[in-house]
Amino acid sequence: MATITGSMVGVLRRPTSHYGVWSWMTTVDHKRIGVLYGVTSFIFFLIGGVEALVLRLQLAFPDGKVVDPEVFNQLFTMHATTMVFLVIMPLSAAFFNFLIPLQIGARDVAFPRLNAFSYWVFVAGGVFINSSFLFGGAPNAGWFGYANLTSRAFNAGSGVDFWALGLLGLGTASLAASFNFIVTILNMRAPGMTMMRMPLFTWMTLVVAFLLIFAMPIIAVALIQLELDRSPLATNFFNPANGGDPILWQHLFWLFGHPEVYILILPAMGIVSEVLPTFARKPLFGYPAVVFAGVFIGFMGWGVWAHHMFTVGLGPVANSVFAVTTMFIAVPTGIKIFNWIATLWGGSLKFTTAMLFSIGFISMFIIGGLSGLTHASPPTDYQQQDTYYIVAHFHYVLFGGSILALFSGFYFWWPKGTGKLLDEGLGKLNFWLMIIGMNLTFGPMHILGLNGMPRRIYTYPSGMGWEFWNLIETAGSLVIALSVLVFIINVVRTSRNGKEAGPDPWDGRTLEWSIPSPPPEYNFATVPVVQGRDAFWIEKYGLHGGEGAHHAAPPSHTAGSGNGDGHAIHMPQGSYLPMVTAFGQTLMLAGVIFGYWLSGVGLVIMLGGVYAWCSEPVSD
């Protein structure tokens, strides 16, 4: 083994270039990894979006004939799986990667190569799950994969295996990234950056990382149990004929799944909490309350999972308990919303595209939250569960919430990443099309749900009163598609002739705005010393800033005395090994479907990768 890996390392010479494809594939720079995450998950966003469009076309009219029922089931399963695991989570991760070291005044993350490994495992997992379309059919049992519809007896194809194994792989990516960010945030803050001085986005990242490391093992166990049931070992975890209980799957899935909801929304809340103060020129109102509300939401996320299961028959006591805990989540959520609104109050609001998206987030998220209240109550949920009303609810939370906030983040931090501003005119068009489109698409779903239209049906007859709103929804989904197109046009056009952003285009508040755009590899030429919350704002306007104290020339960390030119700063070198290890791991998982010999090959590659990784110095 040692000689094999030794020679392998010899063949794969340590990458030294800073340009070209190979430099990107071997990069361990958190900013580049962030960009890779962003680009990759945006591609998945387009794939998941096209899947949604096909679903909407099928449902535009009664008795739709666009796709057959099997393909329909595959498409909605893949749409949700893609959007949750391959879009919102990794897009959030793109922001984590790019921003966290910048916001806390660090030069890198704690484990740069582990970071690269997270990315490559994510890519491999995403490609693996999507490759199921080519190998006999995609998963078709929903993103929640309820047992025992996923058992061999009722689901003979390998789609479910692609799904379960792919999610296991993606879980590794999330875990590795989360450990990395926990250590980075706890351990690599600049001098003076106490916990209660950290930017809100950093705080929410920390909460999300903790949710991930505690939630991911649970879903991993459930997925492994599922694969064992489907394996030649023929275990009985979810097999009722032999004493197994399909409800166990639901508990394990939602024990993960509910924290997952907060994993999807908390980064969005973090982004909004950065954007609003910037364009209101005011500090976040009630910072400690917003932080603790975020932590509390994360904590409460563990006590509400069974509200996804009110109709399962848990009994009145359990349903009451989970109803009350669920309603209680509205309290910290309310605190956040009121504090955002109070941040705007008395501010000087500038409606940039980023700001519009963040305001859109608040408004849409309120709708999603309030519709959530109506099914936090089990008796009303008995009618709404598994109808389009629920689909409406979580799209207001995940599209109106997460996606709008992520777009806000794009427009906000794009200049930091690329050095160029996105076009505001196109940006506003992007915003209005998206918000009109999403309300046309998801608003009527409330009505359809209350009008008795179940989810996940590939067809419906005429005469149910569902025709009109379904057609409107389909039209709305096309408007959303148009808005995404406008965004792409914006990106392409400004990349050619966009306005130069400069280090601080928005009069920013946090440390990332104190360094050039795009930041140099080492981020900070001199490590900043933090004097308080909104560290860069304080640098510009003084500790008691605002009220006329308007500095013209903010200090920057770009140049300075001593070794401030950055040439003497050693950054970790690129490495192939994270990619090799990720490839090995994915082969190992794929082997469960394609033959265990492949798992063996994968294991050897992975172990070789780990061994070489452990013996490779951080830089030669």
């Binding site: 057959d68 029922p69 089931n73 309820y146 519809l149 009722f154 197994g244 399909p246 020129r281 005011k282 109102f285 009630g286 910072y287 309350a289 009145p316 349903n319 009451s320 109803a323 309603m327 209680f328 605190i335 009121f338 609104i341 109070a342 705007l344 008395g346 501010g347 000087s348 609001l349 500038k350 409606f351 519009l356 859109g360 408004s363 309120i366 709708i367 309030l370 109506t374 936090a376 089990p378 008796p379 008995y382 009618q383 598994d386 109808t387 209005w432 309300n439 608003g443 009505i447 209350l450 009008n451 008795g452 179940p454 989810r455 149910m464 009163g465 008691h544 009220e547 006329g548 308007h550």
Partner: protein, 360 residues
Amino acid sequence: MRNLAQSSLPARAATGLAKGATLSSRRSAAASFLSLVLVGVLALFITSCSGKDPQDTLSSVGEVAKKQQELFWIIFAWAALVFVLVQGLLLFILFRFRRRSENEMPAQTHGNTRLEIAWTLAPVVILVSVAIPTVASIFDLAKEHDVSMQVKVIGHQWWWEFQYPGLGVVTANELHLPVGEVVAFDLQSADVIHSFWVPKLAGKQDVVPGRSNPLTIKVDEPGTFLGQCAELCGIQHAQMKFRVVVQEKAQFDQWVKDQRTPVQPPGDPAMVKGSLIVQQKCSACHTIQGLAGAVGKVGPTLTHIGGRGTIAAGVLNNTPENLARWIRDPQEVKRGALMPNLGLTEDEIQAVVPYLLSLK
């Protein structure tokens, strides 16, 4: 930083309002949009209460569904109130505090403990007033009422079996209930998880293999109500429907009597041919009481299929043409259904259809 003066919001609100009177009439784009959404969403909700649609949950008929609907409106009223207040406030702020000059620097407010406590407690009050009727309703719905009839529901991929243990009746996809009686359902599954749902009569309850879930339904007026499976259960989840026929007691008793009567051997020679084909081709999977050998349990019972309003689990109206189409190629109607193409000749189909439709 902590030394910064904390301006009091109410005071600023007052000045804000005073200034508001002299503001220019130009509204910010975001504000006008939000007002659009606000009005739009409320309008959408109001138009949704038309009541004519067959699965409308907001024009309930059954007692359970009515209670659930009542609770919905209570919660909806709270939600609507919060919606109007908060979105209204947001709109006002966007309008009032928009940036007027690039040089303006607002007061650097960091927080206000009293206000923050207030808006922590306000939701608590609302939530308590939602939680109390919720919990009361949960226990009310779970109470054992004076049950006068039991029905066992068995979910199959993709059809429903209804057994009346006290009456000795077994039927499929068409549930008959007497008006005004409390019917206790025992929900079980033969394969995967389904969910039993008749929107106008009661909220749904999952049908889980290995478990037995209770549900009560009481309907006070006769009528035909549509139901369908609400939990993804495979390729034909969308086409796992059923109908509930609520009848006056006398009519219901007559229906029970008819159901208990076994099929009589046909006299008409054309019918005899049909019965023989059915015996040969259908009996392995379907039960027809009174027809020798027809005791299969895989598919729904065909005893009295002629009396049902629909076939293929609520997918097609029960007409001779539709029945022929179904028998000719079930996969064309319902892709993935467990009923295979039997390869009957057109002649055989023309014999089978009238025979089956004669079983009333």
